[in-house]
Symmetry: C2
Subunit: 320 residues, 2 copies
């Protein structure tokens, strides 16, 4: 039995959805959900870029699933299933640990593995792992990134910056609590919260590359100016122990991998947002204001801050 066969057999064990056809067919087939819009997203992770070679393989599997489910969350969607593109580099122990982690993650989020492809990469190459997630949302119910209106406030679910500190812990640069390492390695997509928020918001996205850069993308896509109040950005207690000054907050809002939601909503929604925060036991913070015009302004209690040279993580320019 080839290495690929052993790995695929492992995937088959976790594939119980009839649409997956036991991973023995060319494609997955399932009835179109009646009375829904479909939501599709595809994100890939590259070893050394989106995860560290030293990250546990099972955690990488979790992250591959979670970052894609986070995109569904940002559209208020409920997951249907996923297809995976997996690069084998000849380390079958890593592959098996990855498969076990994937099984745990799929089970946790109650998502079906519908199909995919395993391919051989040269053994010394950085692993490339792709995943397509398919979800459903009530018709017209998926918020757009481009829909913010002048006068809308920018809200974020919190906390922000935990994963950035967790990455530094994972790299061995600093010591810190396991909670922050976990925020980096095992992000938690805000699926239920996204579904609750979707009907109330004008625009929504997830924070994958950093609060500033993802908020700026929303402002640009909506053709609006955005002012951000740095002091309002929610930090966890664990992150706050590493500092709450301007430098610490700027580090938090330019770090990626938080997978919190950012969204534009009118102030009139504030009461309902507070109710969602209580029901979902999360923080929802008002961190900014959209207005006519263009450009990003950042300020704190001491005044306007020059925008940092790097707003967040941009693939192709910032190797992590």
């Amino acid at each position: 039995m080839s290495r690929e066969s052993a790995f695929i057999d492992r995937l088959r064990m976790m594939t119980t959805h009839p649409a997956a056809r036991d991973l023995r067919d060319d494609a997955a087939v399932l009835p179109a959900p009646i009375g829904y819009d479909l939501v599709f997203t595809h994100d890939a992770l590259v070893e050394g870029v989106h995860f560290l070679t030293s990250d546990p393989p099972g955690d990488v599997a979790w992250k591959l699933l979670a970052v894609n489910l986070s995109d569904l969350a940002a559209k208020g969607a409920e997951p249907i299933g996923v297809l995976m593109g997996y690069g084998l580099t000849g380390d079958s122990e890593w592959d098996i640990a990855f498969a076990d982690g994937l099984a745990r993650a799929l089970s946790h989020f109650n998502v079906a593995l519908l199909g995919g492809d395993t391919v051989s990469q040269p053994p010394s190459d950085a692993r490339v792992l792709g995943l397509t997630a398919i979800g459903r949302v009530p018709p017209g119910g998926a918020p757009d990134r481009r829909g913010a209106l002048p006068g809308d406030h920018l809200y974020v679910t919190g906390p922000i910056g935990d994963a950035g500190i967790g990455l530094r812990i994972a790299r061995g640069e600093i010591a810190g609590p396991r909670k922050l390492l976990k925020a980096y390695r095992l992000p938690m997509p805000r699926l239920r919260t996204g579904q609750a928020l979707a009907p109330l918001v004008h625009a929504m996205a997830d924070i994958s590359d950093g609060l500033l850069i993802d908020a700026d993308r929303m402002a640009q896509a909506s053709k609006l100016a955005l002012a951000i109040n740095l002091d309002a950005v929610p930090l966890s207690h664990a992150a706050a122990s590493f500092g709450t000054d301007r430098a610490a907050r700027l580090a938090a809002v330019t770090a990626g991998d938080d997978y919190q939601l950012i969204f534009a909503a009118p102030l009139a929604a504030a009461g309902r947002l507070a109710a969602i925060a209580i029901e979902h036991k999360i923080e929802i913070a008002d961190v900014g204001l959209f207005s006519a015009g263009s450009g990003l302004t950042i300020a704190d209690r001491d005044g306007v801050i020059p925008a940092p040279g790097r707003l967040g993580y941009e693939h192709g320019t910032n190797p992590a």
Copy 2:
């Protein structure tokens, strides 16, 4: 502007479907097609494994799309759209030529680019390119690989083996007509034929790894024995000029990349199959017979042939 931005701008120019949200959102959103089953497939190509470094980038883009559409063809599905996972290795000339080829291929097959992800790979790594294709098929209309019945004949659309000779031409091992090189580099998924055949067949798949291995997978998935008549395998005139003896035919049925369809159908369907062959101007050949039991038998006019050690291309064991 980063390299990634330039490439993404190129992709945006070819993205006109509103569901793609101008590639500026976290996900693609479109209404679920009413009265259809959905079909999903994901195939990846790795440089040096599934395509040659010397293959023109535009042809690689065609192939990435075509191999996935071929999976939809095998399920009788009509394409809706695709999502791409693209690894940037720093050769922006290659990327732009790829993007131009992708635009041509999407236009040829009238398929929408709905979204995806571009990621940075280390510059010296083999490119990894993934694509998810989404299609639709009438309810219950997607043939399964597992559905062959005892007494069914195995049919193939032809010709078989052109791409295998084309690969040898591309590698510079032999000289040969451009038509065969094209069969390797620019495979043509049998979309319309697959849709016409789907209601008539008990099982269907496409030939990606070789006629023998893909037919054997169908027999195994259907828990049946299969006897193949090597003399009935359709060869093109161009391929036949390289030989029609047993060795040449065994080479043809163990070569991959043909992207023809194989299917199991009762002899009673033969008349309707002939009509489809005429209407679609293709060859449909009766090359085998399924029966109770297990195992693959290959024979020609001179008798039974020992199964070759390698039935086709298996990822992870046969680097191309």
